[in-house]
């Protein structure tokens, strides 16, 4: 009987190994940028502050989830006038809508390592369902598992009301905005187990 219980515990343990892994984002090496078009020319910008809570595993897409929160006020296009305009009422309206949010509702596998996240993107007070293609890969950096989540999506800014008044006109500022992201992720469990490893191992009594 004891052996059967031990086997059950072991298999349950194996189940969590196969289940989706929680990751913390390495903010210093992650980026969330965009390319927009103004007066006929493309320019790049990025959001300096954003958080991503990522739970992901190829083998457990049902148990996977992304929860991304972006501080719209952290927008940086390397020009003070333009950044101030972007934070203003007619565009991101940062004073009222501090964050943009992306929360997944599901995933589909397109090819090995290539997926599509289905989710709800909220910018200002508009929430829309979108599909975000991405790649997910893991590597080992100095003995530690590191995951990279990379992808991009093209959005129409006016779908989210980013452009009120004069800014609704797409002659000078194009409707399409290409969003790109590259996230360096560190598994939470690996960090925790690494911390445990330095502590003296305590034999766990098997009941």
């Amino acid at each position: 009987m004891k052996q059967i219980i031990a086997a059950l515990i072991l298999s349950a343990g194996a189940g969590t190994v196969l289940g989706a892994t929680s990751y913390t984002m390495d903010a210093s090496k992650s980026s969330l940028g965009f390319t927009a078009n103004q007066s006929g020319g493309d320019f790049d910008g990025q959001f300096e502050k954003f958080t991503a809570r990522i739970v992901f595993a190829d083998a457990d897409l049902a148990g996977s989830s992304f929860n991304v929160e972006v501080e719209t006020g952290s927008v940086n296009t390397h020009d003070d006038d333009r950044d101030t305009a972007l934070r203003g009422e007619d565009l991101f309206h940062v004073s009222k809508y501090r964050q943009a949010r992306f929360v997944t509702t599901g995933f589909t596998r397109k090819a090995p390592g290539t997926y599509e996240a289905l989710g709800k993107l909220t910018i200002r007070d508009v929430t829309r369902d979108i599909r975000v293609p991405f790649t997910f890969s893991t590597t080992t950096e100095s003995g530690q598992t590191v995951a990279w989540l990379k992808g991009g999506v093209t959005l129409d800014r006016l779908d989210y009301g980013v452009g009120q008044g004069d800014w609704k006109d797409t002659t000078w500022v194009a409707n399409e905005v290409k969003v790109k992201f590259s996230l360096r992720l560190l598994p939470v469990t690996a960090t925790a187990s690494a911390e445990l490893a330095v502590q003296p191992a305590k034999p766990r009594p098997v009941k």
Partner: protein
Amino acid sequence: MQWRNTAVRWGAVSKFLHWIIVLMIITQYVLAEAAEDMPLGLAKFVTYARHKSIGITILGLAVLRLLWRWMNPTPELPNTLKPYERFLAQAAHFGLYLFLFAQPITGWLMSNAQNFPVSYFGWFTLPDLVAPDKELGEVLEDVHKTLFKCLLALATLHVAAAFKHHFWLKDDVLKRMLPFGSTRSGSP
């Protein structure tokens, strides 16, 4: 109509290029001042975009103007000029030509440093000369504005000299550059 320059007067092409560039520089000043005074909004960005497109037009016309100058005789300065006056006139003209290139190019560089691509009236986008760099952008903005003040000072001298030739020395130096103007001597 005389298209080409002669040894004594400017042809229609040189006159056209001279005056269209004068008009564009005035337009540039008006647009830049208007944009600076505008509240932050789309109109401000649009005005700057127009300023950039016209600036690139001036750069193109300046290239044409130099090419045309090399392909044509340059009307001679009056013999009454003393050697130092001749030198000053040539130096001033050289300086004015230099500004026709320096202003658009510093503007272009400044735009790129401030992460604004330079689009030509939305028809095409010019290549970026420098990567976005806020500090460089601020330096270039100062250079661009200071150069304009220098251009204004030199242009004032240029106009004063033209008036001196016309009203004081009573020669053809001003008249031969005026649109549809004929020279006092009546020579073509």
